[in-house]
Amino acid sequence: MEHKELIPNLFRTEYQKIVSVLCSLFGIQHIEIAEDIVSDTFLTASETWAIKGIPENPSAWLYTVAKNKTKNYLKRNNVFETKIVTEIKHNTPLNNPEIDLDLSDQNIADSQLAMIFTVCNPCNSEEAQIALALNLLCGFGINEISDAFLSNKEVIYKRINRAKEKLKEENIKIQHPNNAEIKDRIQTVLKTIYLLYSEGYYSISQNTTLRKDLCTEAMRLTYLLIQNESTNLPQTNALMALMCFHSSRFDARTGLNGEIILYEDQDQSLWNQELIDKGTYFLSQSSTGNTLSKYHLEAGIAYWHTIKKETTEKWENILELYNNLIILEYSPIVALNRTYALSKVKGKTEAIKEAEKLNLTDNHFYYSLLGNLYSEVDVKKALEHFEKARDLAKTIADKNIISKNIEQLKWKTI
């Protein structure tokens, strides 16, 4: 009953905690030993708990078993003894030959932070960083990761292993980053978490529970950074605000059959007010200092979207934020969204002129936008654009939405 739910969830949260602590202790070269010890711990847990029932404090139980397994491993394994123990002694201030696995909250938090910076090391591609983050920082198995990426297991398995090998080759140290390192590398870390979140939020995978889990994990990692003084930066808070605002609409944006429900058609009562409030809190926390990151701008845009009432003020603010965002960093999607905001402020005719200058002729969103803008101006043209959009759309879900637009438009002309 409960058992089935408990183990995977516990596995996920505790796996990455214990792995982080063990990896910090052993160093990157022995990451597999750390993973083996943890996997073995969970195997013991599921076997024992199946017979004796779940202990009162499952986490504490797991920590004790993990500690014992680590000690046993160190005692038994001679190779390990000679090869690594020197390194461990080097890493720990204790001269105690008996190694004690420190699974206190503080050490778990420190180790996790160190691991985040290790996993998000730019020596690996962004794609590899995300897969590795899901595996080591979030405790996702190969099956789940390949499901999220809609990729086959073999590919994901290889990607993760290559990423681990790369970290070893480069001899990346798993250690608490100092302030200069944080300043240098926080961008990469935040970007990986942002991509991890987007993977969950925009993934074409039909598995909604899994996608939600990805988003939750990205938020958990960001929260970890916020709880640590040295990484609690304005942009970290801005990223958190952005994710809270987006997540507040998670339940409203998919229908019963998994179809996408567009913003305008969403049932506002399904928006999660608690997350909107949290987002507002983190957004206010982010407005210190003088860096205006893209997360600030995106969080600002997402904030205005939590207000459903259409006002001039709303769209003027959104347009201003999109202007700043596109000036900061070009992306076709931002260019299209900016033009949509422009249509709300300056009207469709002006927006059509601007949209046509974008010339993103391989992008189905481009034709959808033109179709939308032309709908009240020139129905024939609108239909032509929507049909091009449907031809270019890659997923069934996208094609369905466009078909719905075409149907509605055809009704209008009758």
Binding site: N324, I327, E354, N359
Partner: protein, 112 residues
């Protein structure tokens, strides 16, 4: 694709031609939308850079004066570097520049 330097100049001194605070607010919005539009077309060749409104001028006698300058009627308001196919396209882009609404002008140079 070529790169073009666009230099915006206007008269910052003659009192009668200066914008009112409301006009200035509107003016800022026009600039922002214009930059946003260029960025959306991926026409910006370099990140935007802000410049102060003060400035200094070094003359042929090596004398240095603080801006705004009595000697020059039109001062530089700003400059950007854009991507465009040729002078025709660059000039067409410059025609949308908000500085023109305040009697200013845009000088264009192609990077060679």
């Amino acid at each position: 694709m070529n790169e073009f330097l666009l230099i915006f100049r206007r008269d910052f001194k003659t009192k009668e031609t200066q914008p009112s605070p409301e006009e200035l607010q509107q003016h800022l919005q026009q600039w922002q939308n214009w930059f946003g539009s260029l960025a959306a077309q991926d026409k910006l060749a370099r990140p935007l850079q802000r410049w102060d409104g003060q400035g200094k001028l070094v003359k042929s006698n090596k004398g240095i004066t603080d801006g705004p300058f009595v000697e020059i009627k039109e001062s530089i308001g700003g400059l950007i570097i854009i991507k465009a196919k040729d002078y025709d396209e660059a000039a067409e882009i410059a025609q949308g520049c908000p500085v023109l609404n305040f009697g200013g002008n845009v000088e264009i140079r192609m990077a060679v």
